[in-house]
Structure formats: C-alpha cells, structure tokens
Symmetry: C2
Subunit: 389 residues, 2 copies
C-alpha cells in the first residue's frame, strides 16, 4: 500500500507551525467555503430517536431524489442506478473491486489523483498511464494514439473530469473519443466527476452519463461532500446503468452495512433545497481565486501555469529541478512575513518515474488575500532557492 | 465477493410486508434502543461553518478521549494507538488489508459473523475455521487442540467477543490460551469487541488489550455505533500498540481521507457524557429480552438454545433439517395473527459446508411484547412446517 505522497511533507508543516510560522495550505483540497446551509438544516431537522443503519445502497428517499436531479439532464436513471457511498473515495474503491480481477489494467491519463494508486492496490489492479502535457493544458491524446495502448489485460479507461490535479475540463469531443474506444474494446469508462459543479468561464461539464450507447460501460463517481463543501460528511455516489456491475457493487456495500445515515439526511436536504445561486456564488469565488493565483504564477520568471477550466486545482511548472526537495525546503527554510507555503509536489501524481519534477499542484482553496500573500511568499522562495549557490 | 447470506431472504420479507403481514425482524442487529442522548447533544452543539475532513486517523480530541477512557482499565494506551474508522466494519477491512499478504490464513472459530467472509475476500485472506459446538455453548477448544491447526500460512487468530452470532462470552482462561498460541507462533490476535458493553449476569468482559506481552500481537476492533446504539453513525475504532501495523493501517485510512466528522463530534460527546446508568439500563433491557426469548425457545419441543452471556444474539437449534428452507418458508407461507418472523439461517455463519442446517441466529433487538408474539409465531410455524407431510 503506497503512502499518500502529499502526506510526506506533513511533519515539516507541523514543525513550521509549532515554531510560530503561518503555513498557507495550497496542498490540499479542503475548501474554506461554508457548507451549504440546507445541509445543516437537514441535520437539525433529523428527528429519529434511533440513528439506525440506512439501506446499504443509501436512503431510498435520497437515491430517488438523486436520480431525479440527474434526470433533469435527460439521463433517464432510476434510483437503482445510484448507490450512495461513504465519500467519493469509497465509490472509487468499490469500482476498483467490482469491475476487475487482480492483474487487470486501467488506462489513465497522468498526472492523476495520487490516491488512485492506493485504491488500485486494494483491488489488485494495475494503472497504465498515458502522459498528458502541461504545454497542451493536459488535453487527452487523439483516440488513434490511445488505441495502441489497449492491451490484452486492459479492462477500463479512467478519467477525472474536471481533473484533479490539473483542473482540465475535457471537451465533449475528447469524451466521445474515449466512449468509442470503450465500446470498440468492451472496456469500462470510469469517470470521477466529483468536481462537476466547479466549472468556470461559461463552460459546461459533460458527464459520461450523457454519452450514447454507454449504458453497460459508464461508471460515474460523484461526491456530495465536494459539491456542497461538506468534505467531512463522507457522502458520495456510484452511478451506473450496468445492472450486473451494480449487483456486485451492492455486495461490497452490504459488507460494510451502510453509509452514514445522518449525513445522508443532510445531503438529501442540500440536494433538494440548494439553489443555483449557491453554486453561482461558489463558482464566482473560485474564479476570482483562480485568476488571482494563476495570474500571479504566470507573472513569475520561468513559471508556467495553464488556466484551469474546472475543479480548484492548478498544476504549475516552476524553475526548479526537484519539486519534492523544493516543497520541503519551503517548509523548512523559507519564511516571508512570518509565513510559508505548502504545495503538493507533482511527482506524486505521475506514475512514470521522473515526471513532474518541475511541477507542483496548487489548490486555490484559500481566500484571495491569503492567496496573494502565498504567491508573494512563493515568489521570494523561488528567488532564494535558486540563489542558494 | 460473496453475497451477504442474510440478505438473500430480504425479497421474501418485502413481499410479506407488501401483502400486509407484520414481519418481526429477528434477523438483523439493528436495535430499537434509543441512541445515547449525549450523542445528539454533540451533533446539536457542533458549531463549525465548514464541515471539513478530520485527520485520517480521526479527530485528535476524540482519539485522546478514547485512549483515556480505555486507560481506566489500565491499558496504558496513547492516542496514537487508536485509529477512528468508518464503523467497526471498516476497521475489520483495514485489519484484513494491513495484517496480511494475499493467501495468508486466519484461524477463526465457526460459526462466525458472515461479513468476515467479504472482508477476508477483499484482503485476499483465507479464513480457516475450527468448529465450536452448540452443546458446549460454543466454547473455544483447548489450546492443545488448536495448536495443531496452525499451518505455514497461518498469520492470525481472530475472535469476536462477545460473539456474533452465538452471544458467547469467552473466559479469561480461553483468551490467555489464544494469547499463548499467538506468541508461540508469532500470530496476530484480532478481537472484534464491538459488543463489549453488552455483557450480562454480572459477568465481566475481558479485552485482549488486558493480556500481558501482547503489544505486538493484539488488534482490537470497537464500534461506537454499537455501544451507543447509533448504528447509522458509522464510527468505530481500530486499536493496536503495534506501531508498524498502525503505520500501515494509517496508509489505508489516508487513502479514504477521513471518517465522518460530524458523527465523530456526536461520538465524542457520547463518550464523554454517557454515564454508567445508560449502559445499566440498556443491559437490563437486553437481559429481560434475552430471558424472554431464550426461555420461550427452550420451552418448544426439540428446540435447544444456550443462554448467551453477551451481545444481543442467540443461536438456536430447531427441529428442522434445512434452516435456509425453513426461514424462507416462514416468510412465504406462515402467518400467525397477521405476522411472521424473519430469522438468519445459521448456515451463513459456518464456513464448513453442511453445518448450521438445524440452526438459526436470532437477534433480540425488539421490545418484549414483540418478542413474545414472535416466539408464538415461531412455535406455530415449527408445528405447521413439520406437519406439512
């Protein structure tokens, strides 16, 4: 089981804090956005005397409402196509265990969310990366190029859209290409769509649920925790119209009995009573933060950061040769106005050894004032690091 | 992945209910006891605006309080020896994944909790059962007999104490025997102690944490959800003083980010502010229910049911030859005063094929009046079943 690479730096951050240094956490996806008020209303309105298990697939009322809301986009889902999980993470683990036999392979664009390594290890599945490039804003390769990567053990293609760590939003054309490949080779197409509400600049998120003829292939992972800024609620969902697959997933769900019941009550209320204005407000806030951070990054000498279309992450190339060493050095040695910055070295997001050594992932989950200070701190840090001699 | 055997009967129970029949659910461990009031106080008192992730190992305040409470029994634990899990189920899965390599074997008394099969399958671990007998109230065999079962791939002994499904409470002597075996063969001793507060007749529960020289061997699973009748809270714990093992467990915990935060706030409040009188009241209630049910069972011709010392389950031998068929027949065909009874066939709790065909597991989680009606229904059912000709 691989250790989470972002966590390696935690002791250095803790040491910095205990010496009185402010640490700007751009390393994790824990937003400071207030949880949707309707979530709290759902918790406060819970009136049962016994906090009992829910159905292993989730509260029936919640699954029903969940399917209905998705069906506003014309997907034609039933409640049975939706399984409520304990966070998006559990849905990913269940997908890894239910879709594959040990030794099966998944094609996946790198850089990718580092915890996928752990989930794959749990299922005994092998992740086969194909590299996307910062110069191309991490766009997917042409389908023709990808087809050659399909091998005898390939059973699925997996994407995260919008992407963590890059923030890249895939186009409908890119998705259609993946769907064609999945159908041609009878592969699952697994899409982690936990950031689907975090899409900017008037762009639209296309779910793989909207693709034709993908009923047996498409597996979608969502996260209520992410959508309503309730990360600690640990409520997500696995969505598929493949009944055989859902039957297998349900067995895993039954073994762990149920997702948290009270949190589902909050999530149901959030789903039913959170208006578009909440998301509009959240999106405006993230766009402002993104613009502040990315503009500041691209103004630094030797720094390159594509503008992300979604999520709340960006990958930047820095004028350094070892991002792990640089991120650690920042925490250990660089102070600017009593503060330092914690970033995630991008090496942990690549499966191919040696890649990502000049890149870091930055999560723009802090308010703008903090982001400005963090960028000033990074600017002086880069200067000092490269002047060490 | 094996399906939960208890769940196979669910469609028959649903059909009975939709035709207007009352179904007494003696098949599941979902108590009707009110959740400890202090749990709800902890939820109502939660004041954060952002429901954020907790530490992957759980809220620091909760782990600290958890260790302190256990230390009242002299265990000398630190907060780092306690990892908060998403229900006892997740702690069991983590133990299966962290303690073993695929193909490793666990010695386990049968009958055992059926979901262990699923957890073992996830970890690629093989459960090697040794049979305990209803005639001996499911006591453990002598250590000398057990030693012969230790093979080259054996890496652990696993028990549930008090036991699900039998309700058997193991003696200190039985535990000391297992500890000696674990030390002699360098095995883990994994104890599922989620029912530790449910112990009756003035008996005391002995945790394997109290056994000498077991620091590197003992792994305990607990469940806040069970203890405070908050099954839907999905809060449990894995406790071990083996630092290397805890390091591996923490990697799995980090991959899934965190257990539910709000439920931990409830659990912390329950832990801090639930007095002994709450547990005394719960125990009295269960003792009365147990006595009612077990006396009624043993009064039936051909029925044998040992008096359980703990948990809220009993295994009874019935005058039938196929418990799966009988339990299904009860749901499909037997009605007494407009009601029927759902039980768990014991076959699902044995790994050895053919065992448990005369036995069922009954959970005494209903109020006494319902239990009396359920026993009347079972009595007439047995009569009618055996008179079918």
């Amino acid at each position: 089981m691989p250790a989470s690479p972002i966590r390696r730096l935690v002791p250095y951050a803790e040491a910095a804090k205990s010496s009185g240094t402010v640490v700007y956490h751009l390393n994790i996806g824990q937003p400071d956005i207030a949880t949707a008020p309707a979530f709290w209303d759902g918790i406060a309105g819970y009136r049962e005397k016994v906090l009992s298990y829910s159905h292993s697939a989730g509260l029936a009322s919640y699954r029903q409402a969940y399917a209905q809301q998705l069906n506003q986009k014309g997907y034609g889902l039933s409640a049975d196509d939706v399984l409520i999980s304990t966070g998006g993470s559990e849905a990913l683990v269940m997908a890894m265990m239910a879709c594959f036999d040990p030794g099966d392979e998944i094609l996946i664009p790198e850089p990718f969310y580092a915890n996928y390594n752990g989930f794959a290890a749990m299922g005994g599945v092998v992740l086969r990366p194909f590299t996307t490039l910062i110069e191309e804003n991490f766009a997917l390769p042409a389908v023709e190029d990808l087809a050659g990567a399909v091998g005898p053990r390939t059973r699925a293609i997996m994407i995260c859209n919008p992407n963590n760590p890059t923030g890249t939003l895939y186009t409908r054309q890119e998705l259609a290409g993946l769907a064609a490949l999945a159908k041609a080779h009878d592969l699952f197409l697994i899409a982690d769509e936990v950031y689907r509400e975090f899409v900017y600049d008037g762009l639209e998120h296309d779910s793989i649920l909207s693709l034709e003829g993908m009923e047996e292939h498409a597996v979608v992972v969502e996260s209520t925790s992410k959508m309503y800024s309730a990360c600690g609620a640990r409520i997500g969902a696995l969505i598929t119209r493949n009944r055989e697959l859902m039957g297998t997933v349900l067995k895993y769900a039954q073994a762990r009995l149920s997702p948290p019941t009270l949190d589902q009550a909050g999530a149901l209320s959030a789903l039913l009573h959170t208006g578009r204005d909440y998301f509009d407000g959240v999106r405006s806030e993230y766009v402002a933060r993104r613009n502040t951070m990315v503009q500041a990054l691209n103004a630094l000498p030797g720094v390159q950061c594509p503008l992300p279309g979604g999520a709340f992450y960006a990958v930047a190339r820095l004028p350094i040769d070892d991002s792990d060493a640089f991120c650690q050095w920042m925490l250990e040695h660089h102070r600017h106005e009593g503060a330092t910055v914690m970033m995630a070295p991008a090496t942990g997001f690549y499966a191919t050894p040696g890649l990502g050594k000049q890149e870091v992932r930055l999560a723009y989950v802090l308010d703008q004032e903090s982001l400005v200070r963090a960028m000033d701190c990074l600017a002086t840090g880069l200067e000092a690091y490269n002047a060490r001699g």
